[in-house]
Symmetry: C2
């Protein structure tokens, strides 16, 4: 297969199947768990017809896996690759794109109103994303304070959040939302943001520090106007070697 052919194949979109991405970004300074949304705006003869936000997503190409579609969509929006990615659910209700606004919007687009979307979420920290001059008017919104959202994307975000809640209790994916070097309190704040609960600091500290894959660094925070705290890193290697599948039947 020559390059030209490969390129031309790549451009065949499947018109009724898309991938939508819930991009979670943690802002360590404001301690806010955010979602990256893009602007949807349409006006006609001075009337604003559509003015809200949606998830980023795109058609699946004929010769592309679903995972590849998700990776491509994230790259186009943020420039990032190799972020944690999870396919969590497909959404395919016949009425999912049939509100008045959605139909208006779809008129100008290539995709069907009867589209099934495979939803992914990504985990990253907001600092890694530059939103300067992005063509989509992408913007971070706190999960707790979302704007007006189009299609069925509010539901998709909600289900992504539910899945994240469960998953972050069972696997160390929380570190995907943090910078490489973090403090114990950062991790606690983030758990509290995701789960919406309060955690006892002393017990949490002890528990986390006892994990062998949480490694203290010979470094402290700099440039903070308070006692600088100890920095740690997460070792995926050590975690995987331990293979800590605790078969606790918690039903």
């Amino acid at each position: 297969m020559n390059l030209f052919k490969k390129e031309s194949m790549k451009l065949e979109k499947i018109l009724n199947i898309s991938v939508d991405c819930v991009v979670f970004g943690y802002d360590i300074n404001s301690k806010s768990l955010n979602v990256l949304l893009i602007k949807r705006y349409l006006e006609s003869k001075g009337d604003v017809l559509v003015d809200d936000y949606v998830l980023t997503g795109y058609h699946v190409y004929t010769h592309e896996t679903l995972d590849d579609t998700a990776t491509r969509v994230l790259k186009e929006l943020t420039g990032l690759t190799n972020q944690y990615k999870k396919q969590f659910k497909a959404f395919g209700n016949p009425d999912r794109l049939t509100s008045e606004k959605d139909l208006l919007w779809i008129e100008n687009e290539e995709f069907h109103s009867r589209t099934i979307t495979v939803a992914y979420y990504f985990l990253l920290n907001t600092e890694d994303v530059s939103l300067e001059d992005n063509k989509n008017n992408a913007k971070w919104f706190p999960l707790k304070d979302l704007p007006d959202i189009g299609f069925d994307h509010k539901k998709i975000i909600k289900e992504a959040h539910e899945d994240l809640k469960i998953k972050c209790l069972a696997e160390p994916i929380i570190f995907e939302l943090l910078p490489d070097k973090f403090t114990i309190n950062d991790v606690q704040d983030l758990y509290e943001s995701i789960l919406g609960i309060e955690i006892d600091n002393r017990n949490f500290r002890r528990k986390l520090i006892n994990k062998k894959y949480i490694i203290p660094l010979n470094e402290k925070q700099v440039g903070v106007s308070k006692k600088p705290s100890q920095l740690y890193m997460f070792s995926k290697d050590i975690y995987e070697k331990m293979f800590e599948k605790n078969y606790l039947i918690n039903i």
Copy 2:
């Protein structure tokens, strides 16, 4: 919308989107966790071209939710409705239906080789299913001893099993695989089947009996040639009232 219209709409298939169902059935007598598969057989001029098993599945209709498709597929195969159902993953690799056998099979069928399938699993007990004169040649196979399987359905079964393993540790879905009245040892045997581990009987007993939603009945087994054991039932009501989301960060 009149009935005729509704009926005719129902028959519009989406040709590149399907739902596949992994039907898990527990056989309490043989203590075997089984999967329900249907025969795929094709011969031409005396040559057997295709002879293996696949999951049951079907196209999504245009005016149908994904959940409804799954429910319909299960009903057509087993006559059952209202069984536990979980959408666990979408499979959409471009090469998922492109083996030689699969292409031969698809020739006679209405669906595309580039089909995306949304996979569900169902939980039930084998006793509830009658396989007398079923048109699909459906048959139970132990998960540990599967036959030759077509399409990418072996992978789908494997991932369903992984999801079930995780989910049965976190939620009381295990009782969906058992009859209404069961013994403590039944539950233990089933956990052992699903997880592939051995569990200490005394500890397991204590743990389970202490759950408020495990209710002892004034009944014992009958017709067994040994000491008949105490029967219990699971109370979903009590479970839900307790709302036992133990936020244990187990990472």
